[in-house]
Amino acid sequence: MMEVSPARHDSAYWRSYGDAWRWPAAALAAGFALGFALLVWTDARRIVPDEVGLGVETWAQPASYLGRRINAWRLEDYSTVYDIEAPASSGEVLWVGNSQLHAINQLNRKRDQVAPFHASSALGQPVYCLSLPNANVQEHLATLHWAMTRRPVRYLVLPMVFDKLRNDGLRPGFERLASPALSARLATRPQGKRLEGELADLQRAAKATGTGTNSQTPLAQLSMSAVLHEVSLQEVSERALEDGLASRWGLWQRRPLLWSTVLNDAYVFRNWLLGIKATSKRPMLPVPFENNMAAFDELLDVAAAEGIAVLVYIAPIRQDVEPPYIMAEYRPWKAAVARNIAGRQAKGGAKLAFADLDQLVPAGLWGTADDSHDIDFMHFQGKGHEILGGKVAQLLQDLGVGAPAQAGTNANAVVGR
């Protein structure tokens, strides 16, 4: 006969509410009800993650030139904008960057266009712009490689934004760009190889969460993969349940946005608690800085090897308010970037240009600078975009891009927040 476990008499084993279960049960039920009320409340004030970092005065602005969309600030739109089917010109220009290129402060929807549009107009050819919020140089390197797998890039415009060198690696979502061709390109150099590893990690994570390539795979095909042990039965069932719920229940579908809202609340709370403001000085982080500068070097090497002419510029920052940079870090960095370019220019080879544009946009063309909200150091008004677009076009012409053309041929820009 089986020995009865002595632990049966252990209270930890048998912990229970016993007969007094009604109030705990009511509390549990009320907890579920309140929890869903909390979700509905969060849903009512949910944020759009891509836009929340722009600030209260700033809007992202799509741009089109000659009937074609020329800018994208979400990875899922990259393929549409940098379309493999579209005719490529011998002077194809790619402009990579961060939200400064797609967001306009105090947007006038009828009048304002983003800098890539102005550059396109000035050059008389589309300047394609792939600009992710807070993009770092490692992401620019991966983006250039990805673009090269689709169309030949002849000119690259690369803004260097000091603040973004605090960010490291590739963000989730980059796995959307993954392909064997991209992996093969990345694997040829050290920084690219590191990024290839990150891309593989992102693919694995996306597969596990059902947000990666699997999420586009038809359920029937996924089921067949399970039979072949390529995916687990759990992945198939999870996809079926997730798809079923998401198609019938909007709140379920919007869960990622709700969670982003909660994280944003936590971020705001942290800043309030620690007294962090937009003007707070942000010390550079050594490892992301080194990785980004190594990626910058490698990007220039890749460009030289591929015969791509590169325009590197220090991005504009507002000058009427003390910037959040530590100047003892910022100034030497600018000098180092300039020295790097000068050294490469001295060696000859591929075409390279450098411009320090950090004072390009005058003080009056930025956002409101009072205590009513956080000061925006990154995004300027429509006029500022015009100045930047014109300046970049001029520098590209100096590098050999096309000829000046008539401005204002586009009327296809879509206005949106």
Partner: protein, 498 residues
């Protein structure tokens, strides 16, 4: 199947009522079928391996019980042990052994090359989910039958249900036959109070896993992905504490879901965690952390290594005392120390096929040994000084030990440990800034929550119902909302890899 998935919630919702309200034949069938299905959702083909090893152990145990010949009994025991350990070693340690052999050959100046065919063969070896856990379940049964602590289970179906019961199959708790089979044979429906309690456990477990551990993971992963030589002193300590909390919330969350799932069906298993980071000595830590494993290791490894043989003791329960199992038999200090280090070396390797895990085990052996040395001195101190001081020393040392557990390589781990005590690297900060803040908040939160928990029982008596239950509802609301927003197959539980 992962607990933190929609699939599991649907699975549990569908099967639990059948178990609770169904007739005996249906209940037994559902428990076994459900457990097989649960495992098959990971890989159908490996389900056969679990059934095979369980059958050999069940059959072997019957032969052991039926025989009076010592030779025959030992032969069947040996067969079972060899079979279990062979399967475990092949799937879990073969690649590791080959890799270590190659490294050793390289050190000796021999260049050994693997053929492409052999490399391909190595790549095909997949670690079966939960193999370390179900092997221990099954082995402990054979040992217990051999030593006469339990009678053999008559029906293979009951034994297979014990080994494969989904609430304990892939990551524990490691239960003994006597803790499970009597409950299967002599089933008792759960009371309403137990169901409420079980549901609370599931919600809490999911919250710990999804909202705390999984959100902490990217910060910790990033820190450990950086070159070890670039980290600063504070970085190492923050990463050590950060991973300590991540693995605690991950694994204790898993255990709570497991226990809660069992509880709502009327099964009671012992808790696996009991505020481990409030321990005031390394030994106390192991009475509070992964309790079912430490008691298993004590009963089936440490005590036999001490020469105590198998004890006439059915249930591990908590590790009441590592050394109190010898029935007064004198043991030399050398043997005691050797057994301690050997046990922890094996315990480390059980967690993973990497020398980093072995070092983690030895780190804990060192802590316990060190505590043993200073115990006579600390015992003279006032109780509160001993406890507070013990906690202040134990917590950072246990946390620092996690560096071995999480680092990718031994050199990385050693470099990090050295940096932890290198004051010249105090000003260096390279990990994400939020990591410092979160590690601080979690440490402070643990202290506050620990103090609250210590007085919780008293509080339950003193807090009036009109305040207690609204508070309980509020906490549940936050947990439910958090779980709703984050529920997905984001990350499998850390202990699944073992």
């Amino acid at each position: 199947m992962l607990f933190n998935s929609l699939t599991y919630l649907v699975f549990l919702l569908a099967l639990a009522p059948l178990v609770v309200f169904g007739p005996k034949w249906l209940r037994n069938g559902v428990l076994l079928f459900g457990s097989l299905t649960f495992y098959a959702f990971w890989r159908i083909d490996f389900t056969g391996l679990v059934v095979f090893t369980a059958f050999v152990d069940w059959f072997g145990a019957r032969r052991i019980a039926a025989s009076t010949s010592v030779t025959v009994r030992r032969a069947w025991l040996a067969l079972s042990v060899v079979m279990n350990l062979s399967v475990l070693c092949f799937f879990k340690y073969f690649k590791f052994a080959v890799g270590s052999g190659l490294s050793l050959a390289h050190l000796l100046g021999l260049e050994v090359q693997l053929t492409d065919g052999f490399r391909t063969f190595l790549d095909t070896i997949v670690l079966p989910l939960g193999i370390s856990f179900y092997t221990f379940h099954s082995l402990s049964y054979v040992f217990d039958v051999y030593r006469g602590v339990v009678a053999p289970v008559p029906r293979f179906r009951d034994f297979l249900t014990y080994v494969m019961f989904w609430t304990q199959l892939v990551a524990g708790p490691i239960l003994r036959t006597a803790q499970v089979v009597p409950q299967l044979v002599d089933y008792r429906r759960p009371s309403r109070g137990e169901v409420v309690y079980g549901l609370e456990e599931i919600v809490q477990g999911l919250f710990k896993k999804l909202v705390i551990a999984d959100q902490l993971a990217p910060l910790i992963d990033y820190g450990y992905s950086l070159p070890a030589g670039k980290l600063g002193t504070l970085d190492v300590w923050v990463l050590a504490f950060g991973f300590g909390f991540q693995i605690y919330f991950d694994f204790s969350g898993y255990s709570q879901i497991a226990l809660g799932s069992a509880r709502i069906m009327g099964f009671h298993f012992p808790p696996n965690f009991n505020w481990p980071y409030l321990a005031s000595s390394p030994r106390e830590f192991w009475r509070r952390w992964h309790i079912s494993l430490s008691s298993w290791i004590r009963d089936y490894l440490y005590v036999p290594l001490l020469g105590g043989g198998f004890q006439k003791r059915a249930i591990g329960g908590t590790v009441s005392a590592f050394d109190a199992e010898l029935g007064g038999r004198p043991v030399s200090e050398f043997r005691r120390t050797a057994a301690l280090f050997a046990t922890w070396f094996i315990m480390g390797l059980w967690h993973g096929a990497n020398w980093t895990f072995a070092l983690w085990g030895l780190w804990h052996a060192g802590l316990i040994f060190g505590h043993r040395l200073i115990e006579p001195l600390s015992g003279r101190l006032p109780e509160w000084v001993r406890r507070a001081g013990g906690w202040a020393v134990t917590l950072p040392l246990v946390m620092l030990g996690w560096v071995f557990f999480r680092a990718q390589t031994v050199p990385d781990a050693l470099q990090m440990i050295a940096t932890a005590f290198d004051v010249t690297r105090l000003p260096t900060r390279v990990i994400r800034e939020n990591t410092y803040l979160i590690a601080f908040v979690l440490t402070a939160g643990m202290l506050v929550a620990g103090a609250a928990a210590r007085t919780a029982r008293a509080a339950r008596q003193t807090i009036p119902d009109w305040l207690r239950y609204p508070l309980q509802a509020g906490v549940t609301a936050v947990m439910v909302a958090g779980v709703f927003m984050t529920l997905r197959q984001a990350k499998s539980f850390i202990y699944f890899q073992f």
